[in-house]
């Protein structure tokens, strides 16, 4: 006899959780048309009632604090091409290739160079400042990757023309967007008042023409790779 109300209660609570936690979907549009930019980074920074952006940033989750953000070198290219992480996180560059890489960045948030001998995973590096990190390889100059370091726990990347934010508290936000082929690789900003709506369409001033990551030339044993 107890079972039915208990089951109903469970179902009700699942439904309510599901309905309350329905994520916010952000899409990019230009002249009413959905835009595609795989990997484009969108992050949200809470704004105070007076409109100023909260400087609190957001603490790392336990999982993020205990694991490193991984950017691999695989088949003589970086993977992922574009990624996003939070300030304070460790970044690691495992080399999965049977050849050496020489990964570097001259970007302001993190300037470094790493000798990556074949199949080696070096010690992680911590990013202490927000901003854009452009990565390159001194040996394979087509290798390029981007890491956006944000000071907010609310971030995501465009996948199938949408970024989803789950569990976002209601309030005022500054929304930020970055992709190498949007707005000449400069950050785009807009205001977002989140009151539980399911969707936010962000109008972009120009049509997006996002280029794919450069493919590594086919490696052949009969060719010298230093031509």
């Amino acid at each position: 006899m107890f079972r039915t109300p208990r089951l109903a209660a469970i179902l009700l609570s699942i439904y309510s959780c599901w309905s309350f936690s329905e994520p916010l979907k952000i899409q990019l549009t230009h002249q009413g048309q959905l835009q595609s930019a795989p990997g484009a980074v969108i992050w949200l920074r809470a704004t105070k009632p007076n409109g100023a952006v909260s400087e609190e940033g957001g603490k790392l989750t336990e999982q993020a604090a205990s694991t490193a953000h991984i950017i691999e070198q695989r088949d003589r290219q970086f993977s992922p091409y574009i990624s996003v992480t939070q300030v304070g996180r460790d970044i690691q560059f495992p080399n999965r290739d049977n050849t050496a890489h020489h990964v570097y960045s001259f970007s302001e948030p993190l300037s470094f160079e790493l000798p990556l001998f074949k199949k080696r995973t070096p010690a992680p590096i911590r990013v202490e400042k927000p901003g854009l990190i452009a990565l390159g390889c001194n040996i394979h100059d087509w290798m390029i990757a981007y890491l956006v370091v944000v000071d907010s726990p609310f971030y995501g990347q465009l996948h199938n023309q949408v970024v989803e934010f789950a569990g976002l508290p209601h309030g005022e936000y500054q929304a930020l967007l970055w992709h190498p082929d949007i707005n000449s690789a400069q950050v785009l900003k807009t205001q977002l008042n989140y009151q539980g709506q399911k969707q936010f369409q962000w109008p972009i001033p120009q049509k997006i023409n996002a280029k794919a990551q450069i493919k590594a030339p086919v490696e052949r044993l009969d060719e010298d790779d230093d031509y």
């Binding site: 020489h102 570097y104 000798p115 001998f117 199949k119 087509w142 052949r220 044993l221 009969d222 060719e223």
Partner: protein
């Protein structure tokens, strides 16, 4: 070629280390710098297997040749294999390149070849330290210290300086393989000219400069036997055969019965400079000026210094992703004995290569001449020849490549008359190769 009896140039008589003392000094300097770099980094020489990588190939050959005996067997033929190698399996080449990573951007590179058919030992064709420092600007540089090829060749962009297109190299690259190497230091600077840093293949301006020693006899082999088409690369301690003409036997300073290309004889460094433009997988054009600055009266231990200077232009153009046209042109002069031997040499080739999946078809046409500018009797180095090479290869990825090649060379060479041979010779060679790449 006759060797004029001249006195030993003894201007430099304070400390004259031997050939091998010189080599050891330069190599030790390169090694000390390299090891210092390695130990300065956090990771010393631990995890050696992660730092050392190798690649190379074994070339199994079958060929049929018609023409004069090979110059390697003191004949007047211009090939590496002659009819003594006909119709039997040959182990043509064992080639390996070993790279040791010392720290970021710093490596020691060794290239080795073994040619069992020529009875030679293991040839160290390159041994150098390479360093690519990192700059925040769009400029990149590369430093090489040691014994290495100046990067003149378009053809020899295959593994271990092999030709990607043919079994037999062009005359220019065969000569580079025989007796041209940098034993010194070279810097190369590349500037990205395109504004967009995100450009897939930026346009680059390339500047190369080098100072070297140990290339004083360069030019001797070219003067003696003329141009060739083959795939033999000389090692650091090379000894290529030389048969003294009758007049030389009477000379006071007798040329040894072998040429050792990589020797320092006059104590004077040489240099080269290169300037070019390139866009990866699109085009490359480069000009080089080379001068070994040899004192052409110097003689030591059976070997003369040859003053050799040339201009070299190379161009490579990808008409489509799979269709390439390329060529090299060289024009220079080599002299010894204060004008006793004075030759102008010139060669050019143009090649076209089409690849489609594993197939590649390449054709090369070339002309190679030597003009004798001296009036020394019985020593006419004059030569003029045309060659044609057609090669088809099938790449069975990733380890095997099968090639078939027809090489034809028609040449007139004055020195053949001193041996009562016809001046004009047509040489033909059909080759089949199976290469295992590793």
């Amino acid at each position: 070629m006759l060797i004029k009896p001249i006195k030993i140039n003894d201007n430099i008589n304070t400390f004259r280390p031997t050939h091998w003392q010189h080599i050891c000094m330069v190599l030790s300097l390169a090694l000390i710098t390299a090891v210092n770099q390695a130990s300065a980094s956090n990771n010393t020489l631990s995890n050696l297997s992660q730092r050392i990588s190798s690649k190379g190939y074994i070339d199994f050959r079958w060929q049929h040749f018609q023409g004069n005996n090979s110059w390697l067997d003191l004949g007047t033929g211009h090939s590496r294999f002659d009819n003594s190698h006909n119709n039997r399996p040959l182990l043509a080449d064992f080639a390996a390149e070993i790279k040791a990573d010392l720290k970021a951007g710093s490596q020691i590179i060794t290239q080795l070849h073994a040619y069992p058919e020529q009875n030679s030992a293991l040839e160290i064709t390159e041994l150098y330290w390479q360093y690519r420092p990192l700059y925040a600007s769009t400029m990149r540089s590369r430093w090489r210290v040691g014994f290495f090829y100046p990067k003149l060749s378009i053809e020899n962009r295959g593994s271990v300086w092999s030709s990607l297109y043919n079994l037999n190299y062009s005359a220019i690259n065969s000569w580079i393989g025989e007796e041209l190497r940098t034993f010194g230091v070279e810097g190369r600077w590349s500037w990205k000219i395109d504004k967009s840093a995100n450009e897939k293949a930026p346009l680059k301006l390339n500047l190369t400069a080098s100072a070297f020693a140990y290339n004083d006899p360069t030019g001797a082999i070219l003067a003696w036997k003329g141009w060739s088409n083959h795939d033999l690369q000389s090692g650091i301690n090379n000894k290529l055969p030389f048969a003294a003409p009758a007049g030389v036997a009477a000379a006071d300073n007798i040329q040894a019965n072998s040429f050792q290309s990589f020797r320092e004889i006059d104590g004077r460094p040489g240099g080269y400079i290169g300037l070019g433009l390139s866009r990866k997988r699109s085009f490359k054009v480069e000009w080089f000026h080379y001068d070994n600055q040899a004192e052409d009266t110097a003689f030591e231990d059976g070997h003369y210094a040859w003053h050799t200077t040339f201009n070299h232009i190379s161009a490579h153009y990808f008409l489509t992703k799979e269709l390439e046209a390329f060529g090299q042109y060289i024009r220079g002069r080599t002299s010894m004995g204060n004008g006793f031997v004075d030759n102008r040499f010139e060669s050019a080739f143009i090649a076209i290569s089409k690849s489609q999946g594993p197939h590649r078809l390449s054709a090369r046409f070339e002309r190679a001449i030597v003009d004798d500018l001296d009036n020394t009797p019985l020593d006419d180095n004059k030569e003029a020849g045309n060659s044609f090479n057609l090669n088809y290869s099938y790449y069975l990825a990733p380890h095997w490549k099968f090639s078939s090649e027809y090489q034809q060379r028609r040449s007139r060479q004055a020195r053949r008359s001193y041996r009562q041979e016809p001046i004009y010779v047509k040489e033909e060679q059909l080759s089949f190769s199976a290469r295992y790449y590793f």
